[in-house]
């Protein structure tokens, strides 16, 4: 009995792994993170990735060229499925971006210090994901070169946009999100650019980082204002990130189509966004951590936390699916229940089944610590979740549209190679940008990691001479 008790208390009060490996010092942190950028040859894995993604970018260029030359008829979408891959991909990319803001802003406000190791990377991911997202609605305009018509500017046609449309809300939400994400990322980088400037040996590196650092010198007065601004930005980005995916969900829920017209959409979309975003952070970070040997900063404890966030948001998403089912039944509306039956047993039933496997079943594995600690399995799960979230958007967009109220106007959607080309192309752009970012900028926030090193226990007492 006593034995059992002592054993229990022993394992119950296990010390968590420290957030920064204990042998790190201020100097070693700077030297490692910035040295990876300026002192090191490009790792082979990275060269291969850049080469492969460059080919994807060529596919993107070809797809856009063909689209602009021929119009959106080259895509498979047509009435009744007037929105297909473009909106699916738009929502998917925007969602991926959300994890970056969650990590950098919400976790900062909640004093989750483990975020300091991953926020920079996640913010970059946000920025590039939102940039990819923006391409889809823009290209779907048909005449993208007139895209500026979306902006309210005084024009010779004497008209203004219709502000009661969720589509124009999207324009404002996404551009604001892109701007704020960029500023958040850049402000976080300023002190690190200064570190890079001071450690660089080559003249052109010193000058380039020097320009970006804008003469940052680490003055206490500056730090004080800097911290205030950073905190304010976090406070602003938090409601922003929630609003962006809510607005995206309004694109659907403001319409009266069964399968879209649901009040659960905003929270369910936001949770799904964070879920897919964390999956993407893991997908990208696990290889990058290995390539650059960053285990001292991105510990298994970080991966464990990210897996737990994925599990929690995955459960919220699952709740969303259940509530859709419940409402289809409980509303007693024939169209609603038909939509649900069609989603499960109709021609796109395979997508719904895969979706439930990817997003309903797979994340449940994360309940087990063994699986959360197994890097390879975690990586595979994160990829499956990414696929699942893409399927979710596909199911919502396409199965709701393809059989609506009038059976005479039912139809099917089949993607063409240009649909796939554009999607794969943006994947290439995204990964290419991420790896270029890792190559030229510090992928971990240097000063925020230093902030984690314990020194406060060693304070020198000066209270005696104050008197």
């Amino acid at each position: 009995m006593a034995d059992q008790h002592s054993q229990h208390s022993h394992s119950g009060f296990e010390m968590p792994e420290p957030l920064v490996a204990p042998d790190q010092t201020y100097a070693s942190i700077t030297d490692k993170i910035s040295g990876d950028v300026i002192g090191k040859k490009t790792p082979r894995g990275m060269l291969i990735t850049l080469g492969v993604t460059s080919m994807f970018i060529l596919v993107f260029v070809a797809s856009v060229y063909w689209l602009l030359a021929n119009g959106i008829g080259v895509w498979g979408e047509n009435i009744p499925v007037g929105w297909a891959f473009d909106i699916t991909n738009f929502v998917w990319w925007i969602g991926i971006g959300h994890a970056g803001t969650l990590i950098s802003a919400i976790l900062l406000l909640l004093h989750q210090h483990w975020r300091n190791a991953i926020n920079r990377f996640a913010e970059a991911m946000t920025l590039f994901a939102v940039a990819c997202a923006g391409l889809f609605p823009l290209l779907h305009l048909g005449r993208p070169w007139l895209g500026y018509w979306l902006v309210p500017y005084p024009n010779t046609m004497w008209v203004w946009p219709n502000f009661r449309s969720p589509l124009i809300w999207d324009v404002f939400a996404v551009t604001t999100y892109l701007t704020v994400s960029f500023m958040f990322w850049f402000v976080g980088l300023i002190p690190d650019f200064a570190s890079m400037r001071d450690i660089a040996k080559k003249k052109w590196q010193k000058v380039s980082y020097g320009i970006l650092a804008m003469g940052w010198r680490g003055s206490s007065r500056h730090w004080h204002r800097y911290e205030t601004a950073y905190l304010l930005l976090a406070g602003l980005a938090t409601p922003l990130v929630v609003s962006v995916h809510s607005v995206v969900s309004f694109d659907f829920s403001v319409g009266i189509l069964p399968g879209w017209h649901a009040t659960i959409f905003p929270p369910y979309f936001v949770a799904g966004a964070i879920y897919s975003g964390f999956a993407m952070v893991l997908t990208l970070m696990i290889p990058a951590r290995k390539m650059y040997k960053l285990e001292a900063f991105i510990t298994n404890r970080h991966l464990d936390y990210m897996a737990k966030v994925m599990l929690a948001t995955g459960l919220i998403v699952l709740y969303g699916y259940m509530s859709e089912l419940f409402f289809a039944y409980y509303s007693g509306n024939g169209y609603e229940s038909f939509m649900m039956m069609n989603r499960i047993t109709g021609p796109y039933g395979w997508a719904y089944a895969c979706l439930l496997f990817c997003n309903g079943f797979t994340p449940q594995l994360l309940w087990f610590k063994k699986i959360r600690q197994n890097i390879l399995v975690l990586f595979i799960i994160s990829v499956i979740v990414n696929v699942g979230m893409w399927l979710e958007r596909f199911v919502i967009v396409v199965t709701s549209l393809h059989r609506d109220f009038l059976p005479s106007s039912w139809g099917m959607f089949y993607p063409t190679k240009w649909d796939w080309g554009l999607y794969i192309g943006t994947l290439g752009i995204f990964v290419w940008l991420i790896y270029m970012f890792v190559r030229v900028m510090p992928m971990i926030s240097i000063f925020e990691i230093k902030h984690l090193l314990p020194w406060r226990g060693r304070r020198i007492d000066t209270s005696a001479d104050a008197e």
Partner: protein
């Protein structure tokens, strides 16, 4: 007069003692933010938050009335028979504009109030200052301080176990004059 330290607790102790001795015109340069040091140096609390609030209110009002004026007055649009002043539909953009203006205000306010960009500054004349962004901590007591006496300050700083104490040439540590007008923002 600039003293260089190799540990955060040393510069904090030095700053606290210097403040206790009555020096006020001081600044510290550290590789990461140290809230304790900001307190020890008696840095005035920034009014940046107030500025950001003003920006946000401006953005929100501008956003709301822009929509009302454009869709209700200048080019009245009848959408589904809704009233011209259908304010609930204007909320999302009003919200986004509030955030956009506040965020720009926070970033621009922080950068300009810090006197950046400023690529040339006397403190960069110190050879080892490159380590201020790496692992060393610098405390500067300025010649503009009313109590400043070169020998006395040097002796005081040397008593605090620094690595080095160096005079900084031409150091008006104040912000350039053009920023004086916003001094306590």
């Amino acid at each position: 007069m600039m003293a260089e330290f190799d540990a955060p607790e040393k510069i904090l102790a030095a700053a606290e003692r210097a403040a206790a001795k009555g020096y006020r015109e001081m600044d510290a340069f550290t590789p990461f933010p140290m809230e304790e040091l900001t307190d020890a140096l008696k840095v005035k609390h920034t009014k940046l938050s107030l500025f950001v609030l003003c920006c946000g209110v401006t953005g929100g009002l501008l956003g709301f009335f822009m929509q009302y004026w454009m869709n209700g007055i200048d080019y009245p649009l009848n959408i589904g028979g809704k009233p011209l002043y259908s304010w609930p539909a204007f909320i999302p953009i009003t919200f986004e504009m509030t955030i956009l203006f506040s965020a720009i205000g926070a970033v621009v306010g922080m950068i300009f109030r810090n006197g950046l960009p400023r690529p040339v500054h006397p403190v960069f004349n110190i050879d080892s200052f490159e380590r201020a962004t790496r692992d060393h901590f610098f405390l500067c007591i300025e010649a503009t301080d009313p109590l400043f006496q070169e020998e006395e300050v040097q002796a005081f700083l040397e008593s605090m176990e620094p690595i080095a104490v160096t005079p900084v040439k031409h150091v008006p540590m104040r912000e350039p004059d053009s920023y004086e007008d916003f001094k306590d923002l």
